[in-house]
Amino acid sequence: MKKQILGSLLAVCLLGCSQEAAVDNTLHLALETSPNKLDPALVVDVAEGQLCSLIFQRLVRFSPEGDVVPDAAASWEMLDSGRRYVFHLDPRARFSSGRRVLSSDVVASFGRVLGPSSRSSRQWVLARIRGAGSFTRGVASSVSGLAAPDDSTVTIELEEPFRPFLQLLAMPAASIVPVDLAEEAGDGFAAEPLGSGPWRLAAWNRGDYLSLVPNPHYPGSKPALDELRFRIIPEAFTRIAEFEAGTLDMLKVPLAELSRFLQDDQWKDRLQSRPELRVLYIGLNNNRGPLRDARVRRALNMAVDVDQLINVLYQGHATRAAGAIPPSLGGFRERDAYPYDPAQARRLLAEAGFGEGFAMEIWQRDSPEGNRLVEAVQGYLLQAGVTVTIVKREWSAFKEAVSQGRVDAFFLDWYADYPDAENFLFPLFHSQNAGPGGNRAFINEPRVDELIERAQRTDEPEAGLRLYASADSLVYELAPWIYLYFPTTFLAVSPRIENYVFPVVYLGEDFSSVQKLSKGNH
């Protein structure tokens, strides 16, 4: 009797311990932070945006390669050299409740973001539509440039042509929401979102995991997976342990582990890499103290050995930035980076009247990557006579101080919302966006503004790219930042996962063709 009990106990344990994942057809993924709201109008960070793009359709979306492809709109026409667009909705598009997606849903969804009582901070995504401003201010009762002539047609008219407009429409803020349901749910919609995307939210245990299952009404090919499970795991070293234990199917390889993964026989062939559309920099407040002088800012660029930083912190897997536009985007131009030359840096500082050096603060948010980087920069600048105090603040306190221009310098990165050089120039360097709009270095240079504006308006792609490149060169010369680098992301993919392609933009993945092999096949 005793033996039997022992035996069955043992069996239970063996069953329990032999990876419950053996038969599941679930893709296990990790999120670094816990999402807060899954209402596309309120989404602000990368994880929320990615989840929303799986649950909701936009008129158009990004392919894994970063191209704009049909989503809820089966086709569209661009008229009046980019001033007007006509979208034809896919008649098969259905919300996961089963209701058809109508053109009135699109108009109402955009109105929901733009409206006077909207709490969205993403109004800028749609603000280029004619009449959007007066609708937001409450002057007009509707957006004049937005219309739904019949159930499956949407027309959009812009104030003036804007080259990357279709890309804006692929962003989460432009998602199509069943407005009747959303209004009924009120604030609760952000906790129980429902859309017409390939996936629908099945469970959300806060602080633990989110589960998405296929939307049964989605017209495209049915996903091969039964479930996407996003687990919230804040610490990098636990994500690694989970991945190696087989409980995660994909892992964004932390920098610290990169060389180990690259040398590991088990993983080196299962790594996918992609240069990110993201730039890291130390912003210098161009309105404050010694930093007003461009010579000082150039000197700081020369005082930091960025190549060495890349070698040590990124094991060489990042591209040094000599401009803000990443190499994979049109408008990128090869140029000579500021050389690492502490002696020259000191000379420049002396020339500007700071031969004795000076003291400044660098603000940052607490993150392992940022901590290492800023501490290293602190060390380099000290050698050039600049004493740096590091101030760590949480996001809102950081953003408040930095946006109001109350700090000397700050470490920040910029993720592309859409893959176009415009997204790296207009928000970051145009004087109109000084402060909260993204230009936190407070660079104010009419020549830069003009180049960016001309590029936005032109309907000639090549000319636009040349203008972008010139603007980027001009800004680099003015050195509003200490330019650091464009990182490369490495993704380790479990051998059981097939057909996964690492997308160019984070919104470009819908997991519809990803397959998971059962254990036996491997």
């Binding site: 392992p368 060390g379 590091i390």
Partner: protein, 278 residues
């Protein structure tokens, strides 16, 4: 008294460990093999070797030296914070216990409120409010710690107050401050010594926990807690980054705990095993 403390084996171990940490803190510049702040990216992440007995960190700094300087940070924070608690707590406890009445009631309710919070939580909230730095950590730790001491001192005062010799001085018209400082306070000394030495270990623990969470020492200051957290990413590739400072904390706290135990056994044998918490 010291003799009695050292007479116990664990007391001796505690004393040795505590002196080691204190020595490292005081003589850090003399004994540290390298500059704890000197960044050398060419030397990054070296495993322990002859030149770097505990290896180097991701910016090429010598861990051994940072560990030694870390003792200094720990001791500074812990000692100052504990002194603040001791002053505040003793003062309020004396006043409350001696004068009694409403003032006493108010002070004790304040103590109740302070002790109503899980300590670490209160610390984090205070630091979040005033901004993370070592100075704010010291002040916060000092303030959070007053209540326990005030309670102990007050209880002591209450019992001393009723003793014959104090009553006698009082009836002879002795001044309050004179009575408090000459007769009441000295009777609290042995209690205070115990609380203080045990509190040092707690202070070290609190400092490292807060620095681990990013609410304490700011870079490039070498603090044991922040060394552990910055080493976490490299746990697999360079475990010594997190292991060494953890051992440092454990030994330091152990030293002061043992020392506190020994003091208590010698000064107040009744109190065995009370009050010492990590």
């Amino acid at each position: 008294m010291l003799k009695a403390v050292v007479g116990q084996k664990s007391g001796l171990v505690g004393l040795v460990l505590a002196l080691l940490v204190l020595g490292a803190a005081i003589f850090a510049p003399l004994i540290a093999p390298h500059d704890p702040y000197a960044i050398d990216m060419n030397e990054a992440l070296h495993p322990p070797s002859y030149a770097h007995p505990l290896g180097t960190d991701v910016l090429g700094r010598d861990i051994m030296s940072r560990l030694i300087y870390g003792a200094r940070i720990s001791m500074q924070v812990s000692l100052t914070a504990r002194l603040i608690s001791l002053l505040l707590g003793t003062l309020l406890g004396l006043v409350g216990g001696y004068y009694g009445g409403r003032l006493d009631g108010l002070i004790m309710r304040l103590a109740d409120v302070t002790l109503a919070y899980p300590a670490l939580l209160l610390l984090i909230a205070v630091i979040a409010a005033v901004g993370p730095s070592l100075v704010s950590l010291v002040v916060a730790l000092g303030i959070v710690g007053w209540a326990g001491i005030a309670r102990i001192v007050r209880a002591q005062v209450l019992s001393v107050k009723e003793r014959e010799f104090v009553m006698a001085v009082r009836s002879l018209g002795g001044r309050h401050s004179g009575i408090i400082f000459r007769h009441v306070l000295p009777n609290c000394f042995s209690q205070l010594i115990i609380v203080f030495s045990m509190g040092l270990g707690m202070g070290i623990m609190a400092e490292s926990s807060m620095s681990f969470l990013g609410f304490g020492a700011q870079p490039p200051t070498p603090s044991w807690g922040s060394m552990i957290s910055s080493g976490l990413d490299y746990l697999r590739v360079a475990p010594w980054l997190s292991l060494a400072p953890g051992i440092g904390i454990t030994l330091a706290v152990l030293g002061f705990n043992l020392l506190g135990d020994a003091f208590r056994d010698v000064l107040d044998p009744k109190l065995r095993d009370a009050g010492q918490r990590g």
